[in-house]
Subunit: 410 residues, 2 copies
């Protein structure tokens, strides 16, 4: 046993030495080779321990951050996760992993687009490429929900168990990715009439580093963060995380299967369904209210005061389908790049109080569709969100005369 401990102690010391060498400018490949040669596989816990100790020893957080990807790269293939716990379906870690899979699929599409671009004439217009890239990056913005759940739900539990280094470092990397994404969108806005050459420069300078940062984080999560948390957190912790996850929403997917720990088996999902939801002019049970909303002859989508999609009604004949993954997403990233400026203008005019509604109507597959946006204000007349109401109007437009007596349509 003490041999095992010493062995581990030795490995951590060796790791710290190698990390410091990296920081002092040593070649990544060389360090990586040395590592593999010296130690075989490195248990992920020891990487964390090494980082933790280096921070305690006085290495700057920013320094660690800067070389964080280098560590990962040097360790790639050397991390030992064979003893990691199995993750049940619908468990928060399972959900994070599903999201990572979706992110990887999306990144694959984006890389495919970059590759396609590199085969085109450099002087050609890149308008179509910019448009497509922006659409894919819109989806990529869903990663915000993944990061928010980590930062707000997972990291606090890590801190509870005195694991403070990795959350700090990871949070820094999240912010880095956020700023990459933000800069990418600035480029989209500015990229008017650019050619393929400029587009490829954007890819090198900005789009690729963004994707790279996301990929690095996926690797760190899957090989270090998740196994470590699985080993450390209790089922009570995970259940708490799961229950709070819903409010942040999910990235590019929605976990229909909800994991339930053994201790919560008895709990009924509808435990508070008999409790009434009270309003100024009456009350409902939760079931009544949800069913009423889904029975209304209009489709509803609600975006809160922070522009996040919070709810959509789920009636039998919804005109525009909504995936659950949209919940928690910024409304600006739910629209095709060509209409985002309209979304922004409406929301701005609602927020400033200039306007209270914006209405559109279109013919779609022979149907007359009405789409209206209404500013939602509270009793103090403060803006608290926007509701989209869409409906088919043909039935109403074709009515004649009156119907005052009961007569069913079928």
């Amino acid at each position: 046993m003490s041999e095992l401990i010493n062995n581990s102690r030795n490995r951590v010391n060796e790791l710290k030495k190698l990390i410091l060498e990296l920081h002092n400018g040593k070649n990544v490949q060389e360090t990586s080779d040395k590592l593999k040669e010296a130690m075989g596989s490195v248990p992920y816990g020891e990487v964390v321990q090494a980082e933790e100790e280096l921070i305690k020893d006085g290495l700057e957080r920013d320094e660690i951050l800067k070389f964080c990807d280098l560590h990962s790269e040097a360790l790639k293939g050397s991390l030992d996760t064979t003893h990691a716990k199995q993750v049940p379906e619908g468990h928060p870690v399972d959900v994070f992993k599903c999201e990572n899979k979706e992110l990887e699929k999306l990144i694959h599409q984006i890389k495919h687009l970059f590759a396609e671009a590199s085969t085109r004439l450099e002087s050609e217009s890149a308008d179509d490429l910019i448009f497509k890239t922006r659409g894919l990056f819109n989806s990529l913005m869903d990663i915000e929900k993944h990061y928010l759940r980590k930062e707000n739900l997972v990291f606090p539990y890590m801190e509870k168990y005195n694991i403070t280094g990795p959350p700090m470092v990871m949070w820094g990397k999240h912010d880095e990715t956020r700023s990459f994404l933000k800069s990418s969108f600035s480029l989209f806005d500015d990229a008017v009439n650019v050619n393929v050459q400029s587009y490829l420069d954007f890819v090198d300078m900005m789009f690729n580093p963004t994707i790279k940062a996301i990929e690095e984080m996926i690797y760190k999560e899957e090989n270090i963060l998740f196994p470590m948390c699985m080993d450390t957190f209790t089922e009570i912790d995970w259940y708490e995380i799961l229950k709070q996850s819903e409010d942040f929403g999910y990235c590019l997917c929605y976990p229909e299967t909800k994991w339930k720990p053994a201790f919560a088996e008895g709990e009924s999902a509808s435990v508070d369904s008999s409790e009434r939801i009270r309003f100024e002019t009456g009350s409902f049970t939760r079931e009544e209210l949800e069913s009423v909303i889904n029975t209304l002859p209009v489709d509803i989508t609600f975006v809160d005061k922070d522009d996040k999609v919070r709810f959509f009604s789920n009636g039998k004949s919804r005109i525009f389908a909504r995936p659950k993954a949209v919940l928690g997403r910024q409304v600006q990233f739910c629209h095709p790049p060509s209409s985002v400026h309209i979304v922004n203008q409406i929301v701005d005019d609602f927020k400033s109080g200039k306007q209270d509604s914006a209405k559109f109507w279109i013919n779609m597959r022979g149907k007359f569709i009405h789409i209206a946006y209404y500013a939602v204000r509270n009793s103090a007349n403060e803006y608290i969100g926007t509701v989209e109401v869409s409906q088919e109007l043909d039935e109403y437009r074709n009515l004649t005369g009156e119907r005052r007596i009961l007569q069913y349509d079928n």
Copy 2:
């Protein structure tokens, strides 16, 4: 002090004797005179005590019930409520009293109608009288909410303080009034082509006894029940009663002022407003949800599976006004007598699953109004209520072409 107690003891014994005399057929007026002469004013608590003791002594509950009104009548004018506690505005007792005032106003109208009828030719048709009486009795049915709050909220606290007689007796009287009301409605249904003579017979046989029963109960509440409860219940009890009152609804009025006991002063009304209401497809804060519902371009009224009105939306431009007193009312008593059979048929067809919607449209003051009823079913497809959706359609009916670009209407 002991003299006071003995005095009280003597009065209770005297009361018991007088009540028994009444039960044995003594003349009411005679007993009443004897009472006044012998004892001056009788504190209401002693009447209760006398009734309680008689029940314990073996007098049948039904016997007490039968003579309950006789006791009241014999004691009328002799009850001493001068020492009754002041009732703050919005306190449950204040609300009950407001309801009684509204009931008395309504009864006044009904009596006025009876008086008018007695001046008409006996052979004349009484169709108009039946119609008007039914309309007024529809409103009278709101008393159900008053009785339900007593039975479900007040009586349990009385029992907690070991006051078991009066609740039992009163509940019996409620049921008596209920059966009077039910019989009255049977008469309304059957009374086709009746003349004034028959109408006046109905008044004597059924309508007047119904009103009389309600008046007797008002007297008992105001002079015995409420003062006794005010003396017995704690502020915590009353606050609990107040908070639960909302779910039963109010009779012919709505208490906008909510009483708050001193101990609850700190409590914010919006204490759980940050808590999210979660649905299958998203979530809201309570404020968001209420504001969204009131922002929708349709008016909503919801009736639950027991035909009780539970909610109505409160948008800025409601087409058909709804008073809050309607909450908790049976939907059948919210409609003019001429349309109640339509209401019943729709609800029956929804409950049986035969139909899912019923639609009407009318021209009203130059506006095209659409009124639709939809069966509300839960995820197991069980009927859980009906939602009424009404809206003005002119705007939709006058649209032409398409509007695909942002253009505000003002």
